[in-house]
């Protein structure tokens, strides 16, 4: 059995998330049977309007602290041995690019799914990040949750 401390990693990234942040495989451990992941992908439309790009604004010092707190909260709530890797992108993102990646490794799948779902819901509630959508018709708007 792997007695090492659980992996807990979180980051705010400039730009879209690179492929290595999107890959759950880095969390595979000999003592963990399940990895649940979530990727948020920029969509090319919103309420029928074409979206050319997003700009994510971020209150970075708070966002970094909060991500760490959410990771700790998930471990406390679901399983102290969870392995967790969370990242959120900022700045300019194009449709198809990844804005958020959450990977959770756990001994069993129920905890992995629950913690992964919990993390994305908490990120959407509290992470101080704001999405500025830019439309094909030239307009733009600040989004209010999703």
């Amino acid at each position: 059995m792997d007695a090492a401390a659980p992996l807990r990693s979180w980051a705010i990234i400039d730009g879209p998330l690179p492929p290595e942040r999107c890959a759950p495989l880095a969390l595979a451990r000999n003592d963990q049977g399940a990895i649940a992941s979530f990727l948020g992908v920029v969509r090319d439309h919103h309420h029928g309007r074409g979206v050319t790009h997003l700009v994510y604004e971020c209150y970075r010092t708070m966002a970094e602290r909060l991500l760490g707190e959410l990771v700790a909260e998930a471990a406390e709530r679901f399983d102290a041995q969870l392995h967790t890797q969370v990242a959120h992108g900022t700045g300019l993102l194009l449709p198809g690019q990844v804005s958020v990646a959450i990977h959770v490794g756990a001994a069993h799948r129920v905890a992995a799914f629950a913690a992964c779902r919990h993390l994305i819901e908490r990120i959407k509630e509290d992470l101080p990040v704001w999405k500025h959508e830019h439309y094909a018709d030239g307009g733009s708007a600040w989004l209010k949750g999703s």
Partner: protein, 82 residues
């Protein structure tokens, strides 16, 4: 009274045309009082402030708030990450 730093983001920052300012605020106050003070100072944003949360030193605040000259107050409009 302490002079705290106040940060504005997203639609509020756009409407104020201001990212950050130094503002004199009571040493002991509340989230509601801070938002009311800002609403009186910037009437064009009063409605927006009513939808905002306040973070002090990178933590969401609720109720009573203690401030000093080092305090960083962030006005947090509805977030839209993920």
């Amino acid at each position: 009274m302490p002079i705290a730093t106040v940060l504005y983001f997203a639609q509020v920052r756009d409407r104020l045309g201001c990212e950050q300012e130094r503002l004199e605020l009571p040493a002991t106050t509340t989230v509601a009082e801070i938002l009311a003070t800002l609403g009186a100072r910037y009437p064009q944003c009063a409605a927006a402030f009513a939808t905002c949360r306040i973070a002090v030193d990178c933590r969401f605040a609720a109720g009573a708030v203690a401030l000093d000259d080092e305090s960083e107050i962030a006005v947090i409009p509805p977030v839209s990450g993920g």
